[in-house]
Subunit: 202 residues, 2 copies
């Protein structure tokens, strides 16, 4: 929550409109090419107002790139159900998120920004550690829970990049049900399976 | 191979030096922030020479971002061995590539560029389809071989982003042997396992 929001009545609509434009711009153009001035123009407001609400491009990015779901609310429900089907529930949830155009736009925007801007990568790293890896590790109740969370994350971000950013076929146009089925057992193993071979010869 | 390379004796060293600088710059700064002029300055040559060798930033990118291995040579060897251990061979190969600093720099550069620049994403998509998905599909001899190749690709690119670009812990500093062991069964399933559940209830 921005310290400055809601000072005057009637500003929350403007703030939301700016965020909406910013979200689209970060997703479509990436962090580097997105400017406060460009966002202000597109939102039909003065650049000074954007600066007033958000301070800097970095802070605007952080506000715009908030996760399209509440991990603290959603993840415990997915992870605490029947252990044998946790991968399927997780896959269904993620594919559902990615099928939602605005949620997908936030996630691709995050990846684009992190890839082009070390500062955005740092912010995304903190966001993921605190709000995704933390809750997963706290709920999962498995050994190596944090590593498991980041392995799941690697598969999810890989789908975002391969399916939507690079858009390589046939993954790019794969039916969501088939994608869920393809991902589920792999997420299941990352979440609950052995991460090392039974007879370690390393 | 550039049409213009090797016209004069002694130019191949210069060309290689420009490529080396370009590779580093695309990887560190991303596509947008990399300029012909900047590369020329860093390589100690005239910008006109860079233009002479490569024509445009796009063509320079394509030359610099060539895959750090020959997929047509390497992949058949990995894929045509014992079927039961193909995931382990693939994981070991990829982790080995990523442990090599220059190869990793090329791969992270590709992802960074594709994420920030639609034209780079298009070039990467073509490169991957033609030189990675094609050879895998031709050698694998499984149903849905192209989909399998892109699912493997999604996991590999996800590791590149999560481990090196966003650098989220504990994945970022995971021991290469443990990473190989973590990835192998998941790549094995993508390459040879069933991609749909046995009793499809979709």
């Amino acid at each position: 929550v921005s310290r400055r929001s809601g000072r005057r009545p009637g500003t929350s609509g403007t703030r939301a409109a700016i965020l909406e434009v910013a979200r689209r711009s970060f997703a479509l153009s990436g962090y580097d090419r997105t400017t406060i001035r460009g966002i202000a123009t597109e939102a039909g407001v003065d650049p000074a107002l954007v600066a007033h609400f958000f301070g800097s491009k970095q802070r605007l990015f952080l506000a715009a790139m908030d996760l399209p779901f509440e991990p603290e609310t959603v993840l415990p429900g997915i992870l605490s159900g029947k252990r044998r089907t946790v991968g399927e529930r997780f896959a269904r949830f993620i594919v559902g998120i990615l099928e939602d155009e605005q949620a997908r736009s936030v996630l691709t925007g995050m990846v684009r920004a992190a890839a082009s801007e070390p500062e955005a990568a740092r912010m995304l790293r903190e966001l993921i550690s605190r709000r995704v890896v933390g809750p997963i590790a706290a709920t999962l109740g498995e050994e190596d829970a944090e590593l498991r969370a980041t392995l799941v994350g690697s598969q999810v971000v890989g789908v975002v990049v391969a399916r939507y950013v690079v858009a390589v076929e046939p993954l790019a146009s794969l039916d969501p049900e088939r994608l869920t089925a393809a991902l589920a057992p792999n997420l299941q193993r990352y979440l609950t399976g052995p991460l090392s071979p039974p007879t370690s010869a390393a």
